[in-house]
Amino acid sequence: MTASIATSQGILVVGGGISGMTAALEAAECGKQVILVEKTPSLGGRTAQLYRYFPKMCHPSCGMEINLKRIKGNPNLRVMTMTEVIAVSGTRGNYAVTLKVTPRYVTPDCTACGECGKVVASEVADPFNYGLSKVKAAYLPHAMAYPQRYVIDPLIVDTAEGEAAKAACKYGAVDLGMKEETIQINVGSVVWTTGWRPYDAAKIQPYGYDRYANVITSVEFERLCDPHGPTGGKILRPGDGKEARNIAFIQCAGSRDENHLPHCSRICCMASLKQTQYVREAYGDGENAGKSTIYYIDIRAIDRLEDFYRMVQQDPTVSFVKSKVARIAENKENGNPVLHGVDTEGYHRYATEHDLVVLAVGMEAEVTGVKLPEDIILDSSNFIEGSRDGGMFGAGAASSPLDVNRSVQSATAASLKAIQVIYKTASTEAA
């Protein structure tokens, strides 16, 4: 796709997670021309990597299926994966955007038949599982991946394996000669739905994420519990592959901390409350029930999410300790993390051993450290407030630490703001 799309009537949505898909669809279903760019090979973003949602415990892939169906059926919406925005010039109503498309080495002719994967032996860390497992260097990002098209990792492009993959494809869909492309497009408005990334847990030194194998992050825990994850849904700890039954959840891992992220990431309390129910799901509440302990400062389960909090409070397999854990040590004998701290309600010192520690890592704006157009306004935590010229908007977790529901709400609002820009441009052009 080298054609340049030139129209001030178009809307560009940057980032193909749930917010981007929503912003793009809402506008497209109003008849607006929309381009949705995503830097990874498939849509869905971090939401696709979640096992279940709070508070309904339903599956993100369900809504994903609906949105994908909407996308597949919508002629106004054009999806570009492995594509990033590298420059934006112009102003409200008329932006010139430069896109960089990284080669996938697989053309749209791919039928996802999987023959190429069969002949490739090399493996790469599977980004879908946050590197907890490996995947063939010719792979489908995940079972529901859209576009349903394989990706060939650069690792094997100039190798015999690459050639083998090419040979294995009956449909000539493997193109090892693909080069990086840059594309110019013109749009009237831009919605930034670049989302978030988990804060680098290794920076939270007292918790030893970089030193202790059995200290993991909340996003990794999602993958561990997902039947499609690296352990087939079994809660096996990375240290020794043993079943983890006694699990600690540490809140504000990076959040509400001036040494790390000064803001509250909003979702982590609910995420951990939800994850205690994964433990329950895995072990029940009978004889060999699992045990979850949540270490927290404040439980921020607002509005009706309070119901879920209360339900978990009444769960005999879950206990709460009001304390920011001071540090984690490791029991050398069994590799168990040992949590040291003080329960501040009253004042009770503890040194508690757990099988596994899950750090409820904070949400860092994905654009942190990324060069954005001059005109973009960021808040003190690098979340996107909008643009000075009023033609670009932040939405979803790119605009604030938000849960999925709030992100979709925010994205829906943002698409109307974009439509306003298009409308005004059109009417002034007409005038």
């Binding site: 109003c30 599956h59 299926e65 000064p262 404040d298 925010s410 698409s415 005004k424």
Partner: protein, 749 residues
Amino acid sequence: MADNKFAAYICSGCGIGDAFKMAALEKVATKEGKMSMVKSHPFLCNAEGVQMIRDDIANEAVTHICIAACSRRAKTEAFNFPTVAMSRANLREGVLWVVAAGAEHDEVRQEMAEDYIRMGCAEIKKMNLPKGNANRDQTRNKSILVVGGGMTGMTAALAAAEAGYEIVLVEKTDALGGFAARLWKRVPFSGPYAAPQATGVAEMAASIGANARIKVHLNTTVAETGGAPGRFKIKLATESGSVSELTVGAIVQASGFTPYDIGKLPELGGGQANVVDQAGLEALAKAANGGAIKRADGKDIKSVVFVQCAGQRDETGTHLPYCSGHCCATSIKQAMYFKDANPEVDTVVMYDDLRVPGMGEDFYRSAQQKGVIFTKGKASKVTGGDSCKVEFADLILDEQTSIDADLVVLATGQVANAGVNLDAWTEVNTLAEGGDEGAKQKRTEMKTISILNLDYRQGPDVPQFKHGFADSHFICFPYETRRTGIYAAGPMRRPMDMLQATEDATGAAMKAIQAVENAAAGRAAHPRAGDLSYPIARLEGCTQCKRCTVECPFGAIDEDEKRFPVFNEERCRRCGTCMGACPVRVISFENYSCDTVGMQVKAVNVPDEDEEKPRILILACENDAYPALDMAGVQRLTYSAYVRAIPVRCLGSVNTIWITDALNQGFDGVMMMGCKKGDDYQCHFVKGSEMAYYRMSKIGDTLTQLGLEPERVVTEEVAITDNARVAKLINDYAAQINDIGLSPMKGFG
């Protein structure tokens, strides 16, 4: 209609050609499928294959096509032929990828593929290309009614007007602004989150006044709402009693909230002197107008205590069980009122969990900077009077203690103004229709609190979700409403702060705009966005049983005086629940009907008993169970080759005739796969799964009458992630069928 020409295209790519006898498949399509044109192609989804089909449509006047290749979920961009009716026979994900490898399975694999071709052809024979809502020329009104002139309503009105839509803004009081107008200042909307900001209410009201597209009706309420998206008929009533009528295309309901009655909190000093709620404090702050806030009795305030969660997060069942979300930040803001005017005033915020998510943390820090004291404690008793006393348990210092103050502010919660609770309404209404006078009386009373006064058969307001709020039940779709074209926004949808309310209002406006555009184009709204099919009823066959009108999850069907169903296509979400409900099968869609599925069932070739090859029919929800089956294929999980799967829009659309037909024809078992039901139901058509269970419980009896084991029809909850589980379910069921033996009905079909 113009003569139909039917064509089948069979792809031999992705190994289909190697695994199946293509010639036999083509034969089935021609002979049994009665396709007037059958073509095979080694790579149907590539440019050349697609062009071949395009040419046939253009040159051979093909009107109906059956694509026998991969799943209907795959290659949708390639196989996109908007001008013809199309069915997809799922040979790849549905057969090739899930039937065990090896020659010993060749026969059953081939049979399965042939059946899917038969089914695909049978389906397309009964399908027509949907033309969209026939009445759409009467549904072109694109103006939007916004009910409620508070922050949410004003934002929604402006947001839609700015995009070029005409707005009617209705406010029951004599001024715009709502609750926001009662505030001295608001919690900041953008960084730096350090100090209270001006509410901006006056400016908004002004720009609304200045906006030619917004027509404001003050002192006005909605007396009646009828019609549907694109043609809502609204009756507006003013205080004077005068009633005016108008037509709008969609509705945003922003009827706001009422603070929880402080009078219900005597234990916390509610009703006593110098104990106020947050609204009361705002009033004092407005009176002070930036100066030192004084008490109602005019005395200076040297110390003030804010008691959080007053009558909220209540576990006793007496007060509000939920958290209103905004109150922590609001108390922080109000404490700043005092500190900014005079740092000497002691301000204590007494909280259990301090809930200031996101950037609220900055606001919290800023308050600490200003000297606001935060105490983690649970207030047990508040005494008002000239010197107030708050008795509380200090959770950090672990002691029962008390603190004196000149003023105590109770952070009470938000109670939604969402109108009539439909569950209560339905009860009363049923009695009333039964002639119960008391109920009729009650019904009239109930209507007095209605916001929209819908004349819908299913009640006067939008359904409420939890705790009286009209929220969506879905996480991915906060605006997925059960009343098409009506969107709830602000604190009547969910407890929320002002910032979220403005965002929510903009989102709701977006959906309202979408609704009018959809209605004008005669197509469905979410989740079947763009679907041009709609229910067609042959009323001459209707028995006025009312099942369709009762069971429609979206209140799309009313009744005329003769109790015949009146379909409002624009309200309809195309789930087919009415079709599933209809005992006389008079309801159908152009591309989805009792026949399109029924003929597929009939098309399946059921072997005689002696062949000992059972046949199991699967009716799978197209949004969750069918993708799960697909992905089982993508992951190359194998399951029994005796099953034949048909995707359905929703289990709610399953008409029992399909089951009985299947059994009569000799099917040995029927599996229905739908979404989770119950409180946390996952069905996007609300009750589909529930309906199926209910209807099948009925069918159980008929089975026994037919002398069939009840196990021959099962209903399963299948989530979209259940790839592995769905394969196991099938195999276990196949084994079970094997145990109970083949159906005695074979050969009678």
